[in-house]
């Protein structure tokens, strides 16, 4: 087991492409995506029942070494500024297999 940081990002679905590209550029090739997430925040309630996929959120989680966190956070911040959403960092242990 190896200590890692667990970064969670929730933002407008439109931003997913940018987040994925940002992570790849930094060299983080492992992440998990949950689409069609709804919620509520500064930009109001997003009920997710629109006829199109507009106003849905996407959840992205990546487990990465602690030293990458600040680099990821700096790169993600402008995307969050534009598309809204939150970014949380927490601790976890990674099971090596």
């Amino acid at each position: 087991m190896q200590p890692v940081k667990r970064i969670e990002i929730i933002m407008d679905s439109t931003g997913l492409g940018k987040v994925a590209k940002t992570l790849e550029n930094i060299g983080v090739s492992g992440y998990t995506v949950i689409r069609d997430v709804t919620g509520s925040g500064d930009r109001g309630i997003r009920p997710g029942d629109e006829i199109t996929d507009v106003f849905k959120n996407t959840y992205v989680m990546t487990a990465c070494p602690a030293e990458k966190v600040s680099q990821i956070v700096e790169a993600i911040r402008p995307i969050l500024k534009r598309f809204g959403g939150v970014c949380l960092v927490s601790d976890a242990l990674w099971i090596i297999h």
Binding site: D12, R43, D49, E50, I51, T52, D53, V54, P78, K81
Partner: protein, 351 residues
């Protein structure tokens, strides 16, 4: 005015299912159309109307009537957001970003309103031309671009004292270059806006289907798709309107935030636009069916293409204003009252 037309429209299964959807929300029922299906129904309706419009357009050819109708469509889609914007900023004292978003909403069109209108005409056996579908497709994007231009022009200068200086205009089109522009503008990219406004999924679906209809008209393929594009049409429209009823009713509580003046706007502006549409249609000598469709396009407001583009291009605009206005007021108003109303007025002058 022809009251029997309103009642008749009211007793139409698709409209009744719209009410059933609203009723379900008021009764707090758990009735729900699975979202992937609602999305597919919308694609089906766009494909079906686009494809049939294309084949009909291929048969009629590119006539003078067709060309003028399309021109009028683009003109209306560009002019409506202009005067709407000034009504909203000057009369209703709304912020620039909300005004720009609402202006784009009412300049653009609602494909489902148009589709409901074609079903309405078919029931009354009034014919219409396939080129009206093309006119609809042409009306989706210009209003979005005008709305965003208005927003970018007036977020730096005040809308009450417009000065068309060289720098303000050049600022308008130069996105994401220097560091002096305000933050949201440095994020802005015209190519992204064009992509969202013109290559938006629903715009592409209708344009693509129209072109495919044009290309395959006359061939054996034309008939082969008919059971799919024609026979299912009313049934799927019915189910889609059930879903629209559910979604519209859920948005009604957002209207409290919007306030009475915006609710009034959401009914009066369509009526005004419809009137201008009628005059234009009369001047151009459109047939009754085409005139009704043109009027409906002018009166309708977008809730698919516009939000998709505006949430990125005008990020400060509040979606819980422009979405419920078009979805929960203008849309039901048009399909329930508007359709028979516009037709009975048109009938007076067209006979």
């Amino acid at each position: 005015m022809d009251i029997s037309l309103i009642i008749n429209n009211f007793l139409n299964p698709p409209i009744l299912f719209f009410f059933l959807g609203m009723l379900a929300v008021f009764l707090r029922s758990d009735l729900e159309i699975p979202q992937p299906l609602a999305k597919f129904f919308s694609l089906y309706l766009l494909m079906s109307i686009g494809y049939r419009g294309g084949t009909e357009l291929a048969h009629s050819g590119m006539t003078w009537e067709v060309a003028t109708a399309m021109l009028a469509a683009v003109v209306m889609a560009s002019v409506v957001p202009l005067y709407s914007f000034f009504i909203l900023t000057r009369r209703l004292k709304l912020t620039v970003h909300d005004s720009a978003a609402i202006a784009a909403t009412y300049g653009s069109v609602s494909a489902v309103t148009f589709i409901t209108a074609t079903a309405f005409l078919q029931k009354l056996e009034i014919s219409f031309g396939g080129h009206m579908v093309a006119a609809m497709a042409l009306m989706e994007s210009p209003a979005i671009i005008i709305g965003v231009l208005l927003y970018r022009l007036f977020t730096t200068t005040s809308p009450n004292q417009i000065e068309f200086t060289w720098s303000s205009l050049s600022n308008l089109f130069n996105a994401g270059k220097s560091g002096d522009s305000s933050e949201h503008q440095s994020d802005f990219s015209w190519s992204e806006l064009l992509r969202d406004a013109v290559f938006n999924g629903s715009v592409l679906m209708i344009l693509g289907s129209l072109v495919i209809g044009l290309l395959s008209a006359g061939g054996p393929g034309e008939k082969a798709l008919e059971p799919f594009t024609k026979d299912l049409f009313r049934g799927i429209l019915t189910f889609f309107l059930l879903d629209m009823g559910l979604v519209a009713a859920r948005r009604i509580k957002d209207l409290r935030k919007a306030g009475a003046s915006l609710v009034g706007f959401a009914i009066l502006i369509p009526l005004g636009n419809a009137l201008i549409g009628m005059i234009l249609a009369g001047l151009m000598g459109m047939s009754l069916g085409n005139a009704l469709l043109f009027v409906v396009l002018c009166a309708s407001a977008s809730y698919i293409a516009v939000p998709a583009a505006v949430r990125l291009a005008i990020p400060e605009a509040n979606p819980s204003l422009y979405v419920p206005m078009s979805l929960a007021i203008t849309f039901p108003f048009n399909i329930i009252v508007g359709l028979p109303l516009y037709l009975s007025v048109l009938k007076v002058f067209w006979s």
